[in-house]
C-alpha cells in the first residue's frame, strides 16, 4: 500500500494527542494537584494541538476537503465515519475542560472530572476506530490481523505517556511514576509490534492469481499483457511495496530508537539519583516520534493488497 504521508502524520500526531489527553484525565482522576494548574492547561493545549494538526493533515488526503463534514453521516456502517464523529465529539469535553483550566483554574469538583472522563473515553474510542478502519479490510491481509487495533491504542497510550512525562519533567512536577509507566507501555508496544511482524511474516499467503482470476482450473496462471502501458491508480495506490531488506532495517530502527531506547532512558532517569529528567524525556520523545512514524510508514509499505494479484503478484 502506498504510504500516504498525510495519513501517517495524522495517525501519529492525533494518536499521541489522544494518548496525552487520556493520561491528563487519569492524573485528574487520581486527584493530582499538578493537573489543575498550568501543567493541565499546557498539556490540554498540546493534546488538542496535536489532535487538530493530525485531523487537518488527514484532510490533505482528500480530493474534496471542503466536503469533509459529510464524513460524519455514515456512522452506522463506516469506521472512518465513526472516527470522524468521535473525533469531533471529543472536542466538546476536551475543549470545555481546556477553557475551564485556562479561565477558572480554581474550579475543581466535579465538572472538570466529568469532562476529563468524557474526554478520555472519547480519545481512546477515536483511536480504536482508527485501528478498525484498517483492521476491517479483508482485502489487505497484514491489516486484518486482530492485533492491529490494540496496537494502535497501545502506541497512542505509549506516545501520550511519553509526552505526559515530558510535560511533568519540564514543569518540575512529580514525573517518576509516569516515566516508569511510559517505559512499560513502550516495551509492551515493542513486544506487540514484534508479534505483529512475526505474524505477518509467517501467515499463509494463500490468495493466488489462480484464485483471483478463477483460471486455476486450467493450470498455472501468469500475466501475459497488462491492460495499460503505465501504472494506473490501482497500481500507484495499492501496488507500492518496500524492499524486504529495507523493511528489516526500518523495523529494527523503529523497535530500537522508537521503543527500547526511550524506555531505557525513562527507567535510567527515574531510578538514577540526580538523573536529568527533562533531557531524558526530551530525547525519549524524539525517539518515540521517529519510531512511531517509521512504524506507521512500514504499516502501509509492508501491506499487500489482494488486487496486486491481477498485476503480476503471484500470492497475497
Amino acid at each position: 500500500m502506498n504510504p500516504a504521508y498525510s495519513v501517517i502524520l495524522f495517525t501519529t500526531s492525533s494518536g499521541a494527542g489522544y494518548g496525552l489527553l487520556f493520561w491528563l484525565a487519569c492524573v485528574v482522576l487520581l486527584g493530582d494537584a499538578s493537573a489543575t494548574g498550568g501543567l493541565a492547561s499546557a498539556g490540554l493545549f498540546m493534546a488538542l494541538a496535536l489532535v487538530t494538526v493530525g485531523l487537518l493533515s488527514s484532510t490533505l488526503h482528500l480530493g474534496r476537503p471542503e466536503r469533509a463534514w459529510r464524513a460524519v453521516t455514515q456512522w452506522q456502517t463506516s469506521w472512518l465515519s465513526r472516527e470522524g464523529v468521535l473525533a469531533l465529539a471529543t472536542y466538546v469535553p476536551a475543549g470545555l475542560w481546556f477553557l475551564m483550566q485556562w479561565l477558572w483554574p480554581s474550579v475543581w469538583w466535579p465538572l472538570p472530572v466529568v469532562l476529563a472522563v468524557l474526554a478520555a473515553i472519547g480519545a481512546m474510542a477515536t483511536v480504536w476506530c482508527t485501528g478498525m478502519i484498517y483492521q476491517s479490510l479483508p482485502t489487505i491481509r497484514a491489516w486484518s490481523e486482530p492485533i492491529v487495533t490494540p496496537i494502535y491504542v497501545l502506541l497512542s497510550l505509549a506516545s501520550g505517556a511519553t509526552l505526559m512525562a515530558l510535560l511533568q519533567a519540564v514543569s518540575g512536577s512529580p514525573w517518576r511514576l509516569m516515566a516508569v509507566l511510559a517505559a512499560l507501555l513502550l516495551m509492551a508496544a515493542a513486544g506487540a509490534k514484534w508479534l505483529y511482524w512475526r505474524r505477518i511474516d509467517t501467515a499463509p499467503r494463500d490468495w493466488t492469481v489462480e484464485r483471483a482470476t478463477g483460471l486455476g482450473r486450467i493450470g498455472r496462471v501468469r500475466p501475459l499483457e497488462p491492460p495499460h502501458t503505465q501504472p494506473n491508480f490501482v497500481m500507484r495506490e495499492m501496488g507500492y511495496a518496500v524492499a524486504r531488506k529495507h523493511a528489516g532495517a526500518l523495523r529494527w530502527l523503529a523497535l530500537g530508537a522508537g521503543f527500547v531506547i526511550p524506555a531505557l532512558l525513562f527507567v535510567l532517569a527515574a531510578t538514577l539519583p540526580g538523573g536529568p529528567p527533562t533531557l531524558a524525556a526530551a530525547l525519549a520523545t524524539l525517539g518515540v516520534a521517529a519510531g512511531v512514524l517509521a512504524e506507521r510508514w512500514l504499516f502501509f509499505a509492508e501491506a499487500q493488497h489482494v488486487v496486486t494479484l491481477y498485476y503480476g503478484a503471484e500470492r497475497a
Partner: protein, 248 residues
C-alpha cells in the same frame, strides 16, 4: 446511504465470456468514451499523451497465460465493477456517496458528495474503483445507468457501452436475479463463476470459463510434398549450360 439494501428487486450485471473474449480493448475504449460524457463526467485523464500516460478508466482488459504445454492458452480477462451484493466499498464510505440501489442493485458513487478519501478503493478486492485526480472524486462502472434506462436511445442501444461495443459477443447484460433471464441461463449452461467468492462480497457479475480445448489427434503421418528431382533430359542440360555461360 451506505447501509446496504436487504434485497434488490433486480440484480443487473454483466456476464463475461472468457472463451470468446479476444482482448481487443473495444469494451474498455467504448466505456471510456461513453462515460467521459455520462453520469459521472468528466472521466479525466491527468496525462493523456506523452511518455507516462495516466487517467481514470472504468474497465481494464488483462491478458493472462494459463496452463502448461499444449494445454496452455491465452485468456483475455476484462475487469470492471462486479456490482457485488455485499460490497464493502459501500459500507466503508464515510459520506454516503457510495451506495447500492435497491431497485436494480447497481453500485454507484455520487460525484457531488464524494470527498475523495479513497477508502472504497482499498476495500475493493477487484480494483474496480479508480480515483479521478482532476475531479477529486472516485469513479467506477455505472453499468451505464444513463444508457440502460435511456428512452431517447434505440432499444438496441439500451445496454452498457461495453456490451454494445464487443465485436465477439463476449459480454452479456441482464438481470442475474431472475432465474429465467438469458444471462442466468447462460451462467447455468456454461458454469459461470464468481471472482474471489471467499472474500464474501457476493459479486453479481459472472465469468464464463474458457471451454475445454477440443484436441484433434491424428494417427496418420503428416503428408509432405516433395519437389520433383532433375530428370537429366537434353533440354534440361541445354538450359543448365546456358545458365552456366550467362552466370560466368
Amino acid at each position: 446511504m451506505t447501509a446496504l439494501p436487504l434485497a434488490t428487486e433486480k440484480k443487473l450485471g454483466l456476464v463475461i465470456d472468457l472463451d470468446t473474449c479476444v482482448g481487443c480493448q473495444a469494451c474498455a475504449t467504448s466505456c471510456k468514451e461513453w462515460n467521459d460524457g455520462g453520469y459521472s463526467a468528466p472521466l479525466s485523464d491527468e496525462a493523456p499523451y506523452g511518455p507516462d500516460p495516466f487517467g481514470a478508466w472504468l474497465n481494464r482488459v488483462h491478458s493472462f497465460e494459463a496452463g502448461e504445454g499444449t494445454d496452455s492458452r491465452t485468456v483475455h480477462f476484462p475487469r470492471s465493477c462486479l456490482h457485488c451484493e455485499t460490497p464493502a466499498c459501500v459500507t466503508v464510505c464515510p459520506t454516503g456517496a457510495s451506495y447500492k440501489r435497491g431497485e436494480d442493485g447497481i453500485v454507484l458513487v455520487n460525484p457531488d458528495t464524494c470527498i475523495g478519501c479513497k477508502l472504497c478503493s482499498w476495500a475493493c478486492p477487484y480494483g474496480a474503483r479508480e480515483y479521478d485526480y482532476t475531479h477529486g472524486v472516485m469513479k467506477k462502472c455505472t453499468l451505464c445507468i444513463d444508457r440502460i434506462y435511456n428512452e431517447t436511445l434505440d432499444p438496441v442501444d439500451r445496454q452498457p457501452a461495453c456490451v454494445r461495443a464487443c465485436p465477439t459477443g463476449a459480454r452479456h447484460f441482464g438481470d442475474l436475479g431472475d432465474d429465467e433471464s438469458a444471462v442466468s441461463k447462460l451462467v447455468r449452461q456454461r458454469g459461470g463463476y464468481d471472482l474471489l467468492p471467499e472474500m464474501g462480497y457476493k459479486p453479481t457479475n459472472k465469468y464464463l470459463p474458457p471451454r475445454p480445448r477440443s484436441v484433434v489427434r491424428s494417427t496418420s503421418r503428416p503428408v509432405t510434398e516433395t519437389m520433383p528431382a532433375p530428370d537429366g533430359s537434353a533440354a534440361e542440360r541445354l538450359f543448365a549450360w546456358i545458365d552456366k555461360v550467362l552466370s560466368a
